[in-house]
């Protein structure tokens, strides 16, 4: 009875939260990018790196920028951080223009671009953190507790006195992030934070990003080519292609919108021949992914409705089923599908 009630409540709450006009006032908007254009001069006509980019982001939100190489992700990040001059448009951070009110914006902002090169390799981890804290007027003695907390969160405690050049790439990446956290920025920009990280550190990074955004109500913008990472950490993604936004929305919505295929892999006790394959194709419109030399084959279908028919056909051919495995389309596949068209 009680759990029933709880379930009902949950349904109502999630229904309310899913409605835009309830959602909006809950979160404060931190970043607003309005119609940004950027082009680079080339010998012929100018190359358009950003072509009318607009989006916004709220506190407590992790926003992912996705797109093929050279699509303009880094250019967007740098434009927000005003590390490059965009041609047209406006970026507001906490309501301030990032060019005109740069001095007011910078205290809210942290950015890690090309993480392992953002720091001084000849200084130790702690010396780097102290240096960048100092640049922001933060005294190392008075912020000792905070710095210790950052070191702990990013699991850098043990190596804090090591010279950065002696650390691995992943460690350097984390040190860079630590350096841009000392002033507790409301808006943190991370350009490819998982580049070259092993799975363990990458998972640690995922946990940390989620924790930092949710518990401390910070807004984080990440770019990455690691779709599993994006799917895990991002509340919302923006897909960029050739300097244009081609899609934006919550990860869940993308999955829903781009019809979710089922992927089925069947292993039989003998090799399949062409006639069997043709007979399978007659059952329903399968798109075969792989017909391997071995006895296994896999295909995609929109739902599992015709699976019994396939089973029947297998049975009719006197073939024995050894294994069957179904999985959903991964986010990566959906992403590939979106950027294809």
């Amino acid at each position: 009875m009680q759990s029933h009630l709880k379930n009902n409540c949950q349904v109502i709450v999630s229904f309310l939260l899913s409605r835009p006009y309830y959602k909006r006032p809950l979160m404060k908007e931190i970043l607003e990018v309005k119609h940004i254009f950027k082009s680079y001069p080339t010998k012929s006509e100018p190359f358009k790196a950003l072509d009318d980019i607009s989006f916004s982001a709220c506190e407590g939100e992790v926003l992912g920028l996705l797109g093929p190489n050279g699509s303009g992700k880094t250019t967007i990040i740098k434009s927000i951080a005003s590390l490059l001059e965009y041609d047209k448009g406006q970026v507001l951070i906490n309501g301030f223009d990032n060019i005109k009110d740069r001095k007011k914006v910078l205290p809210f902002l942290g950015a890690v671009l090309d993480g392992n090169r953002n720091i001084y390799w000849r200084l130790s981890v702690l010396e780097n953190i102290h240096y960048f804290a100092g640049l922001r007027g933060i005294d190392k003695k008075r912020s000792k507790e905070k710095i210790n907390q950052i070191l702990k969160d990013l699991m850098l405690e043990e190596i804090k006195n090591k010279e950065v050049r002696l650390l691995s790439r992943g460690m350097k990446q984390k040190v860079s992030i630590a350096c841009s956290l000392v002033h507790a920025p409301n808006l943190l920009l991370l350009d490819e934070p998982t580049l070259g990280l092993d799975i363990e550190i990458s998972r640690g990074m995922e946990k940390w990003i989620t924790k930092y955004s949710k518990e401390e109500k910070k807004c984080i913008i990440v770019t990455s080519h690691d779709m599993d990472f994006i799917e895990t950490v991002c509340d919302r993604v923006i897909i960029i292609q050739k300097g244009k936004i081609t899609f934006q929305g919550p990860v869940k919505e993308i999955k829903k919108k781009y019809h979710n295929h089922k992927r089925v892999r069947i292993t039989l006790d003998r090799q399949i021949n062409e006639s069997f394959k043709t007979s399978l194709k007659e059952i329903c419109d399968l798109s075969f992914e792989t017909v391997e030399e071995t006895s296994a084959f896999s295909f995609k279908m929109e739902n599992l409705n015709s699976l019994p028919l396939i089973m029947d056909s297998i049975k009719n051919h006197n073939i024995k089923l050894q294994d069957i495995h179904t999985s959903e389309d991964r986010f990566e596949d959906i992403f590939m599908e979106i950027i294809k068209d």
Partner: protein, 253 residues
């Protein structure tokens, strides 16, 4: 806020000197050996007739040149190097402003080079037993007034490096031009007095070697010329910086 940042910068400069221990040491040794060479080599070449004044002049000239070269490299080389790594971008994200940081850097580097140069000078005097009558306060005062002009030159090449990245060879070339600036005459007022650093360098020479003293306006003249080149360099640097920002070159390699 500024004080904390300055302290941080000073710490970084000294830690870096410590970490590059071998490099620091070889720089010091090199200066030391050049001094020794000047002392003995010249005596050997020219025989006992070499007049004391000429020798002192050379020593002072050399030490001034060392000051100038380290000030110049401090600025241009560091900027060039950091524009190829990502740290320059991080410096641009600090609210106190990139140019303030660079200024703090110059001051830190200058303090360090005073320590280097003066200690090497005294070490040489100790080994050779030949003591220059060095009015240290006046000496440092004039160097301090004149050195911003060299930072100005450093700015220009730092700016070039931001946009064109690989400029090491022209960086090296300037070293030799600095020899010229250090050794040309400037007092009393003449055309060459208007070159960067020249007025300061020549005055120090006259002061140490011939015990000459100068009117107050001359000190202001040195400072004026110096600041002129400093701000000229800074202005040019800012132009390059704007260009780098437009072409997305602040942290690109």
């Amino acid at each position: 806020m500024y004080w904390v940042a300055f302290k941080g910068e000073l710490t970084r400069t000294f830690i870096k000197a410590k970490r590059y221990g071998f490099d620091t040491l070889s720089r010091l040794l090199m200066t030391y050996f050049v001094f020794i060479a000047i002392f003995y080599g010249l005596k050997f070449m020219t025989g006992p007739t070499l007049n004391g004044g000429k020798l002192d002049e050379l020593i002072i000239g050399y030490i001034l040149w060392t000051f100038a070269v380290s000030a110049y490299f401090e600025n241009s080389y560091d900027l060039a190097e950091e524009s190829t790594i990502g740290t320059l971008e991080q410096l641009h994200l600090a609210p106190i402003g990139f140019h303030t940081i660079v200024l703090f850097r110059m001051i830190s580097g200058y303090l360090l080079s005073i320590i280097y140069n003066i200690s090497v000078l005294y070490l040489t005097m100790l080994t050779t037993g030949r003591w220059l009558d060095l009015p240290i306060f006046n000496f440092l005062l004039i160097v301090t007034l004149a050195i911003p002009s060299i930072y100005g030159i450093g700015y220009i090449f730092g700016g070039l490096a931001l946009v064109y990245k690989k400029i090491e060879s022209s960086l090296m070339l300037i070293q030799f031009i600095l020899i010229l600036f250090v050794s040309l005459p400037a007092w009393p007022l003449q055309k060459t007095s208007f070159l960067p650093f020249t007025a300061g360098a020549h005055s120090i020479n006259r002061m140490v070697v011939y015990g000459e003293s100068f009117p107050v306006w001359w000190y202001f003249f040195i400072l004026g010329i110096s600041l002129f080149y400093f701000f000229l360099g800074l202005g040019i640097f800012k132009l390059f910086e704007t260009k780098a920002r437009r072409l997305n070159l602040l942290g690109q390699y």
